[in-house]
């Protein structure tokens, strides 16, 4: 309940303190290849949106 209320009143602080950034940073530092795959997928999406849509 406290988490829900704190998210309603201070959503940015709630996002910042949840440890999401820490988790993402650790995960991607350990599995570096996923970063390459994600960037490649993002590039594909940008190219598709630019040249096709």
């Amino acid at each position: 309940m406290k988490r829900i209320i704190s998210f309603i009143f201070e959503p940015f602080k709630s996002i910042g303190s949840r440890g999401v950034a820490q988790f993402i940073s650790r995960f991607l530092n350990k599995n570096g290849y996923i970063l390459y795959i994600l960037s490649f997928v993002t590039t594909l999406i940008i190219i598709l949106l630019t040249y096709i849509v």
């Binding site: 940015f12 996002i15 950034a21 993402i24 530092n29 490649f40 590039t43 190219i47 096709i52």
Partner: protein, 253 residues
């Protein structure tokens, strides 16, 4: 049909070059962002703001939409200005972190014995120490600014280095193979909360180096004399000699 004409009248080679340039830019920015948790936090908030802005436009919220547009327009500039020191540090880490030496040789049993004996002796006298054992990720960027030694390892040399009020006692010792590479090396402090209030800047520095490299750091606390190790961003207490030897042997094998 001309093989070079691919999509909507654009040449295939142009699309490929365009894709390659975008890919390397995205990769560089992504690596820069994930190397610093504060910057990553702000980027995540920015992504949430983009989502909120999209929803505000979708539901035609007339008051919120222009304000959110304004914030989104200036957010990247404000982020760069506020986080300039962190961005600078991330760039330093980014350009140095990928240097891996596949030919590194880990130290012998004699080296492990000397490290453990030195740590135990320093612990008994409550003399603070940081001893970092290099593995694949090179620590040259820290050694370059330290006092180079290239000396053989012995328990006596390690104890002498960390003896208070001596020129080399401040900073960390870096061990490469069976040699003491340097003394007086300084690391970037970790931003993580170490939890235990008896752990000070020595522990924070050791955590910092363990977060950005695959090294192992032996820490002796000046306040309590306790021995711990920092590896992969976590600190583990080493209550006795055998446990410390076990961890160091596993790491160096």
């Amino acid at each position: 049909m001309n093989i070079l004409i691919a999509i909507n009248g654009y040449s295939l080679w142009k699309i490929l070059v365009d894709a390659y340039l975008i890919w390397i830019i995205i990769l560089f920015v992504a690596k820069l962002v994930i190397s610093n948790k504060k910057i990553l936090n702000l980027v995540l908030i920015f992504i949430v703001l983009l989502g909120v802005n999209y929803l505000a436009k979708l539901f035609e919220l007339k008051a919120s939409t222009p304000i959110l547009q304004y914030i989104i327009e200036f957010y990247p500039i404000i982020l760069v200005i506020i986080m300039a020191p962190n961005i600078r540090r991330s760039l330093e880490i980014l350009w140095k972190q990928d240097t891996k030496s596949s030919s590194i040789i880990m130290g012998s049993q004699s080296t492990r014995d000397h490290i453990v004996e030195a740590a135990m002796e320093l612990s008994s006298q409550k003399i603070g120490a940081i001893i970092t054992i290099e593995k694949h990720n090179t620590l040259d960027q820290f050694a370059d600014r330290a006092i180079m030694m290239h000396s053989d390892i012995s328990k006596e040399v390690l104890i002498n280095i960390f003896t208070p009020n001596t020129p080399l006692h401040d900073g960390a010792v870096i061990i490469r193979g069976d040699k003491i590479l340097c003394a007086g090396a300084y690391y970037i402090l970790s931003e993580e909360d170490v939890g235990d209030k008896t752990m000070g800047s020595r522990h924070r520095a050791s955590m910092g180096i363990s977060e950005i490299t695959d090294s192992l750091t032996v820490i002796v606390s000046e306040e309590t004399g306790k021995v711990s190790i920092a590896v992969e961003g976590i600190i583990l207490p080493m209550n006795d000699r055998d446990k410390l030897m076990e961890y160091i042997s596993m790491f160096m094998s």
